[in-house]
Amino acid sequence: MRERKLRAILTIAMVMIGAGLMTALNGLTTGMYQYIGSQFGTLGANVIMVLPGQESATRITEQTASVISRLDGVKVAIPYVQQGATAESAGASETVLVTGSDQRYLRDVFPSLQVIEGTLVASHDSIGIVLGHSIAYPPDKSKPFARVGMVVTISFTTVKEKEPETVKRSFIVRGILAEMGTSGMFLPIDRMVFLSLPAATSLFDTAGNYSGVNVIATGPEKAEQVASAIRRLYGRSFEVYTSKTIISLIQNILGAFSVFIGSIASVSLVVASVGIFAGLYTSVMERTKEIGLLKAVGFKKRGILGVFLGEAILIGLIGGLLGDAVGVGLGYGMAIAAGNIRGQFANEMTTGATIAYVPPAFTLENFLFILGFSVAVSMLAGAYPAWRASRLDPVVALRKE
Protein backbone atom coordinates (compact mmCIF):
# COMPACT_ATOMS: atom_id res chain seq x y z
CA MET A 1 0.00 0.00 0.00
CA ARG A 2 2.55 2.57 1.13
CA GLU A 3 5.02 1.17 -1.35
CA ARG A 4 2.53 1.72 -4.11
CA LYS A 5 2.05 5.33 -3.07
CA LEU A 6 5.80 5.88 -2.94
CA ARG A 7 6.21 4.34 -6.37
CA ALA A 8 3.54 6.61 -7.82
CA ILE A 9 5.29 9.63 -6.30
CA LEU A 10 8.66 8.55 -7.70
CA THR A 11 7.20 7.98 -11.15
CA ILE A 12 5.59 11.40 -11.13
CA ALA A 13 8.89 12.88 -9.92
CA MET A 14 10.68 11.36 -12.91
CA VAL A 15 8.26 12.97 -15.32
CA MET A 16 8.49 16.21 -13.37
CA ILE A 17 12.28 16.33 -13.63
CA GLY A 18 12.19 15.68 -17.37
CA ALA A 19 9.45 18.21 -18.02
CA GLY A 20 11.08 20.70 -15.64
CA LEU A 21 14.41 20.48 -17.44
CA MET A 22 12.70 20.97 -20.78
CA THR A 23 10.78 23.97 -19.49
CA ALA A 24 13.88 25.57 -17.99
CA LEU A 25 16.09 25.08 -21.04
CA ASN A 26 13.37 26.21 -23.42
CA GLY A 27 12.84 29.26 -21.24
CA LEU A 28 16.55 30.09 -21.32
CA THR A 29 16.85 29.91 -25.09
CA THR A 30 13.62 31.85 -25.61
CA GLY A 31 14.92 34.47 -23.17
CA MET A 32 18.22 34.70 -25.04
CA TYR A 33 16.33 35.02 -28.30
CA GLN A 34 14.28 37.92 -27.06
CA TYR A 35 17.31 39.51 -25.43
CA ILE A 36 19.24 39.59 -28.69
CA GLY A 37 16.25 41.04 -30.48
CA SER A 38 16.07 43.82 -27.89
CA GLN A 39 19.83 44.47 -27.96
CA PHE A 40 19.77 45.19 -31.66
CA GLY A 41 16.59 47.14 -31.30
CA THR A 42 18.79 50.14 -30.45
CA LEU A 43 20.37 49.92 -33.86
CA GLY A 44 18.51 51.93 -36.49
CA ALA A 45 16.69 49.88 -39.09
CA ASN A 46 18.37 51.83 -41.89
CA VAL A 47 21.93 51.20 -40.64
CA ILE A 48 24.32 49.04 -42.64
CA MET A 49 27.49 47.99 -40.86
CA VAL A 50 30.63 47.55 -42.93
CA LEU A 51 33.51 45.73 -41.23
CA PRO A 52 36.86 44.46 -42.50
CA GLY A 53 36.61 40.92 -43.88
CA GLN A 54 38.04 38.22 -41.67
CA GLU A 55 40.16 36.69 -44.43
CA SER A 56 41.04 39.92 -46.17
CA ALA A 57 43.87 42.39 -45.87
CA THR A 58 41.88 45.20 -47.44
CA ARG A 59 41.61 48.11 -44.99
CA ILE A 60 38.74 50.49 -44.54
CA THR A 61 40.01 54.02 -45.19
CA GLU A 62 38.71 57.53 -45.78
CA GLN A 63 38.46 56.63 -49.44
CA THR A 64 36.21 53.61 -48.71
CA ALA A 65 33.87 55.87 -46.78
CA SER A 66 33.69 58.46 -49.51
CA VAL A 67 33.05 55.82 -52.22
CA ILE A 68 30.22 54.31 -50.18
CA SER A 69 28.72 57.70 -49.40
CA ARG A 70 28.26 58.37 -53.13
CA LEU A 71 26.24 55.14 -53.66
CA ASP A 72 22.57 55.40 -54.53
CA GLY A 73 20.32 55.40 -51.47
CA VAL A 74 23.06 56.36 -49.03
CA LYS A 75 22.41 59.33 -46.79
CA VAL A 76 25.78 59.29 -45.10
CA ALA A 77 28.71 56.94 -44.44
CA ILE A 78 30.21 57.33 -40.97
CA PRO A 79 33.66 55.86 -40.49
CA TYR A 80 34.68 55.05 -36.93
CA VAL A 81 37.59 53.83 -34.89
CA GLN A 82 36.90 51.47 -32.00
CA GLN A 83 39.19 49.91 -29.40
CA GLY A 84 39.12 48.70 -25.84
CA ALA A 85 40.97 50.77 -23.23
CA THR A 86 41.05 51.70 -19.58
CA ALA A 87 39.52 54.95 -18.34
CA GLU A 88 40.75 56.49 -15.09
CA SER A 89 39.35 59.34 -13.08
CA ALA A 90 40.09 60.38 -9.53
CA GLY A 91 41.73 57.06 -8.67
CA ALA A 92 38.91 54.88 -10.03
CA SER A 93 39.23 52.95 -13.27
CA GLU A 94 36.78 51.35 -15.69
CA THR A 95 37.25 49.13 -18.72
CA VAL A 96 35.67 50.88 -21.67
CA LEU A 97 35.12 50.55 -25.39
CA VAL A 98 36.40 53.76 -27.03
CA THR A 99 34.58 54.83 -30.18
CA GLY A 100 35.74 57.73 -32.31
CA SER A 101 33.34 59.05 -34.92
CA ASP A 102 31.61 62.17 -36.15
CA GLN A 103 29.07 62.59 -33.38
CA ARG A 104 26.66 64.61 -35.51
CA TYR A 105 25.51 61.26 -36.89
CA LEU A 106 25.46 59.30 -33.64
CA ARG A 107 21.67 59.49 -33.49
CA ASP A 108 21.39 58.16 -37.03
CA VAL A 109 23.11 54.97 -35.90
CA PHE A 110 21.40 54.72 -32.50
CA PRO A 111 18.03 56.46 -32.86
CA SER A 112 17.14 56.23 -29.18
CA LEU A 113 20.41 57.74 -27.94
CA GLN A 114 20.05 60.74 -25.63
CA VAL A 115 22.40 63.07 -23.78
CA ILE A 116 21.34 63.64 -20.17
CA GLU A 117 24.18 65.92 -19.11
CA GLY A 118 26.32 68.33 -21.18
CA THR A 119 26.62 67.93 -24.93
CA LEU A 120 28.11 65.69 -27.57
CA VAL A 121 31.64 66.29 -28.80
CA ALA A 122 32.10 68.59 -31.79
CA SER A 123 33.70 67.22 -34.99
CA HIS A 124 37.13 68.68 -34.39
CA ASP A 125 37.20 68.70 -30.61
CA SER A 126 40.42 66.84 -29.82
CA ILE A 127 40.08 66.74 -26.02
CA GLY A 128 36.34 66.19 -25.48
CA ILE A 129 34.82 62.85 -24.40
CA VAL A 130 31.25 61.61 -23.90
CA LEU A 131 30.66 58.83 -21.40
CA GLY A 132 28.18 55.97 -21.63
CA HIS A 133 25.79 55.80 -18.71
CA SER A 134 27.29 52.74 -16.97
CA ILE A 135 30.77 54.34 -17.17
CA ALA A 136 29.65 57.65 -15.68
CA TYR A 137 27.46 55.96 -13.08
CA PRO A 138 28.90 52.49 -12.46
CA PRO A 139 25.99 50.32 -11.30
CA ASP A 140 28.18 48.53 -8.74
CA LYS A 141 29.44 51.74 -7.10
CA SER A 142 27.65 54.44 -5.17
CA LYS A 143 29.88 57.28 -6.36
CA PRO A 144 29.81 58.57 -9.97
CA PHE A 145 32.97 57.85 -11.95
CA ALA A 146 33.20 61.31 -13.50
CA ARG A 147 31.08 64.38 -14.08
CA VAL A 148 30.85 66.90 -16.92
CA GLY A 149 33.97 69.09 -16.91
CA MET A 150 36.14 66.54 -15.09
CA VAL A 151 39.26 64.96 -16.56
CA VAL A 152 39.27 61.32 -17.64
CA THR A 153 42.50 59.60 -18.67
CA ILE A 154 42.32 56.94 -21.37
CA SER A 155 45.17 54.44 -21.44
CA PHE A 156 45.91 51.35 -23.46
CA THR A 157 48.88 49.12 -24.13
CA THR A 158 50.35 48.73 -27.58
CA VAL A 159 53.48 47.06 -28.96
CA LYS A 160 56.04 49.38 -30.60
CA GLU A 161 59.30 47.93 -31.92
CA LYS A 162 58.66 44.76 -29.90
CA GLU A 163 58.41 46.73 -26.68
CA PRO A 164 55.09 47.00 -24.89
CA GLU A 165 54.22 50.62 -24.40
CA THR A 166 51.39 52.20 -22.50
CA VAL A 167 49.79 55.18 -24.17
CA LYS A 168 47.93 57.66 -21.97
CA ARG A 169 45.96 60.72 -22.86
CA SER A 170 43.57 62.92 -20.92
CA PHE A 171 40.17 64.18 -22.03
CA ILE A 172 37.54 66.47 -20.60
CA VAL A 173 34.06 65.10 -20.11
CA ARG A 174 31.67 67.03 -22.35
CA GLY A 175 28.59 64.95 -21.88
CA ILE A 176 26.97 61.84 -20.40
CA LEU A 177 24.51 59.61 -22.24
CA ALA A 178 21.18 58.36 -20.97
CA GLU A 179 20.94 54.71 -20.06
CA MET A 180 20.22 52.57 -23.13
CA GLY A 181 19.79 49.29 -21.25
CA THR A 182 22.28 47.63 -23.55
CA SER A 183 25.38 46.94 -21.56
CA GLY A 184 25.49 43.63 -23.38
CA MET A 185 28.17 42.10 -25.49
CA PHE A 186 26.86 43.08 -28.89
CA LEU A 187 26.45 46.83 -28.79
CA PRO A 188 27.50 47.88 -25.29
CA ILE A 189 26.62 51.55 -25.68
CA ASP A 190 26.26 52.02 -21.93
CA ARG A 191 29.86 50.90 -21.52
CA MET A 192 31.28 52.96 -24.39
CA VAL A 193 33.02 56.34 -24.40
CA PHE A 194 32.85 58.54 -27.47
CA LEU A 195 35.58 60.77 -28.95
CA SER A 196 35.69 62.78 -32.12
CA LEU A 197 37.11 60.87 -35.09
CA PRO A 198 40.38 62.85 -35.29
CA ALA A 199 40.97 62.47 -31.54
CA ALA A 200 40.53 58.69 -31.76
CA THR A 201 42.72 58.21 -34.87
CA SER A 202 45.43 60.25 -33.20
CA LEU A 203 45.10 58.43 -29.86
CA PHE A 204 45.22 54.95 -31.35
CA ASP A 205 47.63 55.95 -34.15
CA THR A 206 45.59 54.06 -36.75
CA ALA A 207 47.48 55.36 -39.79
CA GLY A 208 44.31 56.29 -41.64
CA ASN A 209 42.60 52.93 -41.16
CA TYR A 210 39.13 52.68 -39.69
CA SER A 211 37.52 49.92 -37.63
CA GLY A 212 34.41 50.11 -39.76
CA VAL A 213 31.86 52.28 -41.45
CA ASN A 214 28.27 52.70 -40.38
CA VAL A 215 26.27 53.48 -43.49
CA ILE A 216 22.92 55.23 -43.13
CA ALA A 217 20.45 54.52 -45.92
CA THR A 218 17.88 57.12 -46.88
CA GLY A 219 15.18 54.80 -45.50
CA PRO A 220 14.86 51.37 -43.90
CA GLU A 221 13.50 49.95 -47.17
CA LYS A 222 16.76 50.94 -48.89
CA ALA A 223 18.99 49.10 -46.40
CA GLU A 224 19.15 45.78 -48.23
CA GLN A 225 19.67 47.46 -51.58
CA VAL A 226 22.57 49.52 -50.26
CA ALA A 227 24.07 46.46 -48.57
CA SER A 228 23.98 44.56 -51.88
CA ALA A 229 25.60 47.48 -53.70
CA ILE A 230 28.45 47.52 -51.18
CA ARG A 231 28.87 43.76 -51.42
CA ARG A 232 29.04 44.02 -55.24
CA LEU A 233 31.63 46.73 -54.97
CA TYR A 234 33.96 45.04 -52.48
CA GLY A 235 33.15 41.33 -52.74
CA ARG A 236 34.51 39.40 -49.77
CA SER A 237 36.91 42.11 -48.74
CA PHE A 238 34.40 43.51 -46.29
CA GLU A 239 31.60 42.06 -44.24
CA VAL A 240 28.34 43.88 -44.69
CA TYR A 241 25.44 43.57 -42.27
CA THR A 242 22.09 45.25 -41.92
CA SER A 243 20.59 45.24 -38.44
CA LYS A 244 18.05 42.76 -39.77
CA THR A 245 20.67 40.32 -41.07
CA ILE A 246 22.62 40.48 -37.81
CA ILE A 247 19.55 39.62 -35.79
CA SER A 248 18.53 36.78 -38.07
CA LEU A 249 22.10 35.46 -38.23
CA ILE A 250 22.41 35.27 -34.47
CA GLN A 251 18.89 33.93 -34.06
CA ASN A 252 19.60 31.22 -36.61
CA ILE A 253 22.62 30.06 -34.66
CA LEU A 254 20.61 30.25 -31.47
CA GLY A 255 17.73 28.37 -33.12
CA ALA A 256 19.99 25.47 -34.00
CA PHE A 257 21.39 25.58 -30.50
CA SER A 258 17.94 25.51 -28.93
CA VAL A 259 16.96 22.46 -30.98
CA PHE A 260 20.09 20.76 -29.66
CA ILE A 261 19.34 21.77 -26.07
CA GLY A 262 15.71 20.78 -26.47
CA SER A 263 16.60 17.31 -27.67
CA ILE A 264 18.88 16.78 -24.68
CA ALA A 265 16.07 17.78 -22.35
CA SER A 266 13.59 15.53 -24.09
CA VAL A 267 15.95 12.59 -23.58
CA SER A 268 15.40 12.99 -19.85
CA LEU A 269 11.67 12.56 -20.43
CA VAL A 270 12.30 9.49 -22.52
CA VAL A 271 14.36 8.09 -19.66
CA ALA A 272 11.44 8.87 -17.38
CA SER A 273 9.23 6.84 -19.68
CA VAL A 274 11.26 3.74 -18.84
CA GLY A 275 10.47 4.46 -15.21
CA ILE A 276 6.78 4.84 -15.96
CA PHE A 277 6.86 1.57 -17.84
CA ALA A 278 8.52 -0.23 -14.95
CA GLY A 279 6.20 1.36 -12.41
CA LEU A 280 3.00 0.51 -14.24
CA TYR A 281 4.18 -2.95 -15.14
CA THR A 282 4.95 -3.72 -11.51
CA SER A 283 1.57 -2.30 -10.60
CA VAL A 284 -0.17 -4.60 -13.08
CA MET A 285 1.68 -7.60 -11.66
CA GLU A 286 0.80 -6.60 -8.11
CA ARG A 287 -2.82 -6.02 -8.92
CA THR A 288 -3.35 -9.16 -10.96
CA LYS A 289 -5.86 -10.46 -8.44
CA GLU A 290 -7.68 -7.15 -8.43
CA ILE A 291 -7.85 -7.21 -12.23
CA GLY A 292 -9.31 -10.73 -12.06
CA LEU A 293 -11.94 -9.45 -9.66
CA LEU A 294 -12.79 -6.50 -11.90
CA LYS A 295 -13.23 -8.89 -14.81
CA ALA A 296 -15.45 -11.16 -12.73
CA VAL A 297 -17.79 -8.30 -11.85
CA GLY A 298 -18.08 -7.36 -15.51
CA PHE A 299 -15.22 -5.07 -16.54
CA LYS A 300 -14.47 -5.44 -20.24
CA LYS A 301 -11.00 -5.42 -21.78
CA ARG A 302 -11.54 -1.87 -22.85
CA GLY A 303 -12.42 -0.89 -19.28
CA ILE A 304 -9.26 -2.41 -17.80
CA LEU A 305 -7.18 -0.82 -20.55
CA GLY A 306 -8.80 2.49 -19.69
CA VAL A 307 -8.02 2.17 -15.97
CA PHE A 308 -4.30 1.61 -16.52
CA LEU A 309 -3.94 3.99 -19.44
CA GLY A 310 -5.81 6.58 -17.41
CA GLU A 311 -3.31 6.10 -14.63
CA ALA A 312 -0.43 6.66 -17.09
CA ILE A 313 -2.10 9.80 -18.45
CA LEU A 314 -2.65 11.09 -14.94
CA ILE A 315 1.04 10.54 -14.13
CA GLY A 316 1.99 12.44 -17.29
CA LEU A 317 -0.45 15.23 -16.54
CA ILE A 318 0.58 15.75 -12.90
CA GLY A 319 4.29 15.30 -13.71
CA GLY A 320 4.02 17.68 -16.66
CA LEU A 321 2.19 20.37 -14.68
CA LEU A 322 4.63 20.14 -11.77
CA GLY A 323 7.48 20.12 -14.31
CA ASP A 324 6.20 23.33 -15.89
CA ALA A 325 6.12 24.97 -12.48
CA VAL A 326 9.48 23.62 -11.31
CA GLY A 327 10.99 24.50 -14.70
CA VAL A 328 10.17 28.19 -14.25
CA GLY A 329 12.10 28.26 -10.97
CA LEU A 330 14.91 26.20 -12.43
CA GLY A 331 15.08 28.51 -15.47
CA TYR A 332 15.54 31.60 -13.30
CA GLY A 333 18.14 29.80 -11.18
CA MET A 334 20.08 28.71 -14.24
CA ALA A 335 19.89 32.20 -15.77
CA ILE A 336 21.39 33.72 -12.62
CA ALA A 337 24.11 31.05 -12.48
CA ALA A 338 24.94 31.47 -16.17
CA GLY A 339 25.13 35.24 -15.71
CA ASN A 340 27.58 34.83 -12.84
CA ILE A 341 29.79 32.49 -14.85
CA ARG A 342 29.82 34.87 -17.82
CA GLY A 343 30.63 37.69 -15.42
CA GLN A 344 33.74 35.87 -14.24
CA PHE A 345 34.93 35.51 -17.81
CA ALA A 346 34.39 39.14 -18.63
CA ASN A 347 37.79 40.62 -19.45
CA GLU A 348 39.60 43.23 -21.47
CA MET A 349 38.58 41.51 -24.71
CA THR A 350 34.95 42.16 -24.06
CA THR A 351 35.86 45.54 -22.51
CA GLY A 352 34.16 44.44 -19.32
CA ALA A 353 30.88 44.32 -21.12
CA THR A 354 29.11 41.04 -20.52
CA ILE A 355 25.63 39.63 -20.62
CA ALA A 356 25.31 39.65 -16.87
CA TYR A 357 21.81 38.26 -16.61
CA VAL A 358 19.37 37.32 -19.30
CA PRO A 359 15.98 36.47 -17.80
CA PRO A 360 14.38 33.30 -19.18
CA ALA A 361 11.17 33.77 -21.13
CA PHE A 362 8.25 31.35 -20.92
CA THR A 363 5.49 31.15 -23.45
CA LEU A 364 2.12 29.46 -23.16
CA GLU A 365 2.90 27.38 -26.25
CA ASN A 366 6.03 26.06 -24.54
CA PHE A 367 4.10 25.11 -21.41
CA LEU A 368 1.40 23.37 -23.41
CA PHE A 369 3.89 21.63 -25.66
CA ILE A 370 5.82 20.23 -22.70
CA LEU A 371 2.61 19.18 -20.96
CA GLY A 372 1.45 17.43 -24.13
CA PHE A 373 4.82 15.80 -24.58
CA SER A 374 4.80 14.50 -20.98
CA VAL A 375 1.31 13.04 -21.41
CA ALA A 376 2.22 11.48 -24.76
CA VAL A 377 5.41 9.89 -23.40
CA SER A 378 3.55 8.56 -20.33
CA MET A 379 0.79 7.14 -22.50
CA LEU A 380 3.28 5.39 -24.74
CA ALA A 381 5.11 3.97 -21.73
CA GLY A 382 1.83 2.86 -20.17
CA ALA A 383 0.42 1.29 -23.32
CA TYR A 384 2.06 -2.11 -22.97
CA PRO A 385 1.40 -2.63 -19.23
CA ALA A 386 -2.22 -1.55 -19.78
CA TRP A 387 -2.58 -3.92 -22.71
CA ARG A 388 -1.11 -6.74 -20.62
CA ALA A 389 -3.58 -6.01 -17.85
CA SER A 390 -6.53 -6.03 -20.23
CA ARG A 391 -5.47 -9.38 -21.66
CA LEU A 392 -5.11 -11.18 -18.31
CA ASP A 393 -7.13 -14.39 -18.14
CA PRO A 394 -9.56 -13.90 -15.23
CA VAL A 395 -9.22 -17.53 -14.12
CA VAL A 396 -5.44 -17.29 -13.93
CA ALA A 397 -5.63 -13.83 -12.38
CA LEU A 398 -8.03 -14.93 -9.65
CA ARG A 399 -5.99 -18.02 -8.82
CA LYS A 400 -2.77 -16.06 -8.36
CA GLU A 401 -1.60 -15.86 -4.76
Binding site: M1, K289, E290, L293, K295, A296, V297, G298, F299, K300, K301, R302, G303, D393, P394, V395, L398
Partner: protein, 232 residues
Protein backbone atom coordinates in the same frame (compact mmCIF):
# COMPACT_ATOMS: atom_id res chain seq x y z
CA UNK B 1 -34.97 -30.48 -22.90
CA UNK B 2 -32.91 -28.20 -20.68
CA UNK B 3 -34.51 -25.02 -21.88
CA UNK B 4 -36.99 -25.20 -18.99
CA UNK B 5 -34.27 -25.27 -16.35
CA UNK B 6 -32.53 -22.08 -15.30
CA UNK B 7 -29.10 -23.59 -15.87
CA UNK B 8 -28.50 -26.53 -18.11
CA UNK B 9 -24.99 -27.99 -18.41
CA UNK B 10 -24.56 -30.37 -21.35
CA UNK B 11 -21.64 -32.75 -21.81
CA UNK B 12 -19.16 -30.20 -20.56
CA UNK B 13 -15.50 -31.05 -21.09
CA UNK B 14 -12.40 -29.10 -20.22
CA UNK B 15 -9.09 -30.63 -21.17
CA UNK B 16 -5.79 -29.16 -20.04
CA UNK B 17 -2.76 -30.23 -22.00
CA UNK B 18 0.26 -30.58 -19.76
CA UNK B 19 3.29 -31.40 -21.89
CA UNK B 20 2.01 -34.06 -24.27
CA UNK B 21 -0.51 -35.48 -21.81
CA UNK B 22 -4.16 -34.47 -21.92
CA UNK B 23 -5.60 -33.98 -18.47
CA UNK B 24 -9.40 -33.79 -18.33
CA UNK B 25 -10.43 -31.35 -15.60
CA UNK B 26 -14.08 -31.79 -16.52
CA UNK B 27 -15.10 -35.01 -18.20
CA UNK B 28 -18.56 -35.05 -19.73
CA UNK B 29 -20.51 -33.22 -17.05
CA UNK B 30 -24.24 -32.73 -17.44
CA UNK B 31 -26.54 -31.24 -14.84
CA UNK B 32 -29.49 -28.93 -14.42
CA UNK B 33 -30.26 -26.26 -11.87
CA UNK B 34 -33.76 -24.98 -11.25
CA UNK B 35 -34.74 -21.46 -10.25
CA UNK B 36 -34.51 -20.83 -6.52
CA UNK B 37 -32.08 -23.66 -5.78
CA UNK B 38 -29.32 -23.56 -3.18
CA UNK B 39 -26.59 -25.94 -4.28
CA UNK B 40 -23.11 -26.96 -3.21
CA UNK B 41 -20.37 -28.62 -5.21
CA UNK B 42 -17.96 -30.74 -3.21
CA UNK B 43 -15.07 -33.03 -3.98
CA UNK B 44 -11.36 -33.55 -3.34
CA UNK B 45 -8.76 -31.11 -4.68
CA UNK B 46 -8.34 -31.51 -8.42
CA UNK B 47 -11.82 -32.98 -8.86
CA UNK B 48 -12.76 -30.09 -11.14
CA UNK B 49 -15.14 -28.17 -8.87
CA UNK B 50 -13.48 -24.79 -9.33
CA UNK B 51 -13.20 -25.38 -13.07
CA UNK B 52 -16.93 -26.11 -13.21
CA UNK B 53 -17.69 -22.97 -11.23
CA UNK B 54 -15.53 -20.89 -13.61
CA UNK B 55 -17.51 -22.28 -16.56
CA UNK B 56 -20.81 -21.44 -14.89
CA UNK B 57 -19.37 -18.00 -14.15
CA UNK B 58 -18.45 -17.42 -17.79
CA UNK B 59 -14.85 -16.84 -16.73
CA UNK B 60 -13.49 -19.77 -18.72
CA UNK B 61 -14.47 -21.57 -21.92
CA UNK B 62 -14.89 -25.35 -22.20
CA UNK B 63 -13.14 -27.60 -24.68
CA UNK B 64 -16.54 -28.92 -25.70
CA UNK B 65 -20.13 -29.00 -24.44
CA UNK B 66 -22.59 -26.24 -23.58
CA UNK B 67 -23.88 -24.21 -20.71
CA UNK B 68 -27.35 -22.77 -21.23
CA UNK B 69 -28.52 -20.12 -18.85
CA UNK B 70 -32.13 -19.03 -19.28
CA UNK B 71 -32.03 -21.00 -22.50
CA UNK B 72 -29.20 -19.06 -24.14
CA UNK B 73 -25.91 -20.73 -25.00
CA UNK B 74 -23.27 -19.03 -22.86
CA UNK B 75 -20.27 -19.78 -25.03
CA UNK B 76 -21.82 -18.47 -28.22
CA UNK B 77 -21.29 -15.03 -26.72
CA UNK B 78 -18.16 -13.00 -27.41
CA UNK B 79 -15.98 -11.64 -24.63
CA UNK B 80 -17.74 -8.32 -24.27
CA UNK B 81 -21.11 -10.04 -24.16
CA UNK B 82 -19.79 -12.42 -21.50
CA UNK B 83 -18.52 -9.48 -19.47
CA UNK B 84 -21.98 -7.91 -19.68
CA UNK B 85 -23.55 -11.22 -18.76
CA UNK B 86 -21.35 -11.57 -15.68
CA UNK B 87 -22.14 -8.03 -14.71
CA UNK B 88 -25.93 -8.30 -15.00
CA UNK B 89 -26.82 -11.91 -14.29
CA UNK B 90 -24.09 -13.22 -11.97
CA UNK B 91 -22.60 -12.45 -8.60
CA UNK B 92 -19.29 -13.75 -7.30
CA UNK B 93 -18.03 -14.41 -3.79
CA UNK B 94 -14.45 -15.60 -3.57
CA UNK B 95 -12.53 -17.11 -0.69
CA UNK B 96 -10.44 -13.99 -0.22
CA UNK B 97 -9.35 -10.83 -2.02
CA UNK B 98 -12.92 -10.02 -2.90
CA UNK B 99 -12.61 -6.30 -2.36
CA UNK B 100 -10.72 -3.29 -3.63
CA UNK B 101 -8.81 -2.40 -0.51
CA UNK B 102 -8.32 1.31 -1.22
CA UNK B 103 -11.96 1.95 -1.88
CA UNK B 104 -14.72 2.41 0.68
CA UNK B 105 -17.06 -0.44 1.53
CA UNK B 106 -19.96 1.42 -0.08
CA UNK B 107 -18.06 1.99 -3.34
CA UNK B 108 -17.03 -1.67 -3.41
CA UNK B 109 -20.64 -2.75 -3.18
CA UNK B 110 -21.76 -0.24 -5.81
CA UNK B 111 -19.01 -1.24 -8.29
CA UNK B 112 -21.08 -3.64 -10.45
CA UNK B 113 -23.68 -0.91 -10.93
CA UNK B 114 -20.97 1.54 -11.96
CA UNK B 115 -19.96 -0.86 -14.71
CA UNK B 116 -23.61 -1.29 -15.68
CA UNK B 117 -23.79 2.50 -16.04
CA UNK B 118 -26.44 3.07 -13.42
CA UNK B 119 -27.08 6.57 -12.06
CA UNK B 120 -25.09 7.46 -8.99
CA UNK B 121 -27.95 8.36 -6.66
CA UNK B 122 -29.79 5.17 -7.51
CA UNK B 123 -26.85 2.84 -7.07
CA UNK B 124 -25.72 4.45 -3.83
CA UNK B 125 -29.21 4.05 -2.43
CA UNK B 126 -29.34 0.36 -3.32
CA UNK B 127 -25.80 -0.29 -2.06
CA UNK B 128 -26.75 1.26 1.30
CA UNK B 129 -29.84 -0.94 1.50
CA UNK B 130 -27.79 -4.05 0.77
CA UNK B 131 -25.17 -3.16 3.36
CA UNK B 132 -27.89 -2.64 5.95
CA UNK B 133 -29.41 -6.01 5.08
CA UNK B 134 -26.08 -7.79 5.68
CA UNK B 135 -25.69 -5.95 8.99
CA UNK B 136 -23.02 -3.41 8.01
CA UNK B 137 -25.16 -0.28 7.94
CA UNK B 138 -22.73 1.44 10.32
CA UNK B 139 -19.53 0.66 8.39
CA UNK B 140 -20.28 1.91 4.89
CA UNK B 141 -17.57 4.57 4.78
CA UNK B 142 -14.85 2.29 6.19
CA UNK B 143 -12.08 0.79 4.10
CA UNK B 144 -12.22 -3.03 3.81
CA UNK B 145 -8.86 -3.24 5.64
CA UNK B 146 -10.60 -1.94 8.77
CA UNK B 147 -13.09 -4.81 8.76
CA UNK B 148 -12.86 -8.37 10.13
CA UNK B 149 -12.75 -11.36 7.77
CA UNK B 150 -16.43 -12.12 8.36
CA UNK B 151 -17.41 -8.51 7.75
CA UNK B 152 -15.37 -8.45 4.53
CA UNK B 153 -17.26 -11.53 3.29
CA UNK B 154 -20.55 -9.79 4.11
CA UNK B 155 -19.44 -6.89 1.94
CA UNK B 156 -18.65 -9.38 -0.83
CA UNK B 157 -22.14 -10.84 -0.46
CA UNK B 158 -23.71 -7.40 -0.73
CA UNK B 159 -21.58 -6.67 -3.82
CA UNK B 160 -22.60 -9.99 -5.40
CA UNK B 161 -26.27 -8.99 -5.01
CA UNK B 162 -25.83 -5.45 -6.29
CA UNK B 163 -27.15 -5.92 -9.83
CA UNK B 164 -29.89 -8.30 -8.64
CA UNK B 165 -28.34 -11.35 -10.31
CA UNK B 166 -30.04 -14.64 -11.14
CA UNK B 167 -27.17 -16.66 -9.77
CA UNK B 168 -24.49 -16.08 -7.15
CA UNK B 169 -21.39 -18.27 -7.40
CA UNK B 170 -19.29 -18.81 -4.31
CA UNK B 171 -15.78 -20.26 -4.48
CA UNK B 172 -15.06 -21.41 -0.90
CA UNK B 173 -16.87 -18.35 0.49
CA UNK B 174 -16.27 -19.47 4.07
CA UNK B 175 -12.84 -20.99 3.50
CA UNK B 176 -10.97 -18.25 5.32
CA UNK B 177 -13.38 -17.93 8.24
CA UNK B 178 -13.64 -19.66 11.59
CA UNK B 179 -16.54 -22.12 11.81
CA UNK B 180 -18.88 -19.80 13.75
CA UNK B 181 -18.41 -16.89 11.36
CA UNK B 182 -18.63 -19.30 8.42
CA UNK B 183 -21.96 -20.60 9.67
CA UNK B 184 -23.24 -17.03 9.99
CA UNK B 185 -22.32 -16.31 6.37
CA UNK B 186 -24.02 -19.49 5.15
CA UNK B 187 -27.13 -18.58 7.18
CA UNK B 188 -27.09 -15.15 5.54
CA UNK B 189 -26.90 -16.74 2.09
CA UNK B 190 -29.78 -19.08 2.94
CA UNK B 191 -31.93 -16.16 4.03
CA UNK B 192 -31.21 -14.32 0.80
CA UNK B 193 -32.02 -17.48 -1.18
CA UNK B 194 -35.30 -17.83 0.67
CA UNK B 195 -36.28 -14.14 0.53
CA UNK B 196 -35.15 -13.23 -2.98
CA UNK B 197 -35.08 -16.55 -4.75
CA UNK B 198 -31.48 -15.96 -5.88
CA UNK B 199 -29.77 -19.21 -6.93
CA UNK B 200 -26.59 -19.97 -4.98
CA UNK B 201 -23.94 -22.41 -6.14
CA UNK B 202 -21.16 -22.82 -3.59
CA UNK B 203 -17.95 -24.72 -4.06
CA UNK B 204 -16.78 -25.97 -0.66
CA UNK B 205 -14.53 -28.39 1.18
CA UNK B 206 -16.57 -28.10 4.27
CA UNK B 207 -19.28 -30.77 4.85
CA UNK B 208 -21.03 -28.50 7.38
CA UNK B 209 -21.52 -25.89 4.67
CA UNK B 210 -22.64 -28.53 2.16
CA UNK B 211 -25.19 -29.84 4.66
CA UNK B 212 -26.84 -26.45 4.80
CA UNK B 213 -27.62 -26.57 1.03
CA UNK B 214 -30.55 -28.29 -0.69
CA UNK B 215 -28.50 -30.35 -3.12
CA UNK B 216 -24.87 -31.47 -2.98
CA UNK B 217 -23.10 -32.36 -6.21
CA UNK B 218 -20.08 -34.57 -5.62
CA UNK B 219 -17.30 -34.43 -8.20
CA UNK B 220 -14.46 -36.91 -8.60
CA UNK B 221 -11.90 -36.86 -11.42
CA UNK B 222 -13.95 -34.43 -13.43
CA UNK B 223 -17.17 -36.45 -13.24
CA UNK B 224 -20.30 -36.22 -11.15
CA UNK B 225 -19.98 -39.14 -8.73
CA UNK B 226 -23.04 -38.49 -6.59
CA UNK B 227 -25.93 -36.05 -6.27
CA UNK B 228 -27.31 -35.82 -2.76
CA UNK B 229 -30.58 -34.18 -1.77
CA UNK B 230 -30.48 -32.78 1.75
CA UNK B 231 -33.88 -32.88 3.45
CA UNK B 232 -34.65 -29.45 4.88
Amino acid sequence: MGSQSLICVEKLRKIYRIGSVDFPALDDISLEVEAGEFISIVGPSGSGKSTLLNMLGALDRPTSGHVFIEGSDLFRKNENQLADFRNRKLGFIFQAHNLLMRTSVLANVALPAVIAGERRAKRIKRARGLLESVGLGDKMTRKPTELSGGEQQRVAVARALMNEPLIVLGDEPTGNLDSKTGAEIVALLRNINRDRGTVFILVTHNPEVANETQRVIHLRDGRVSLVERIPS
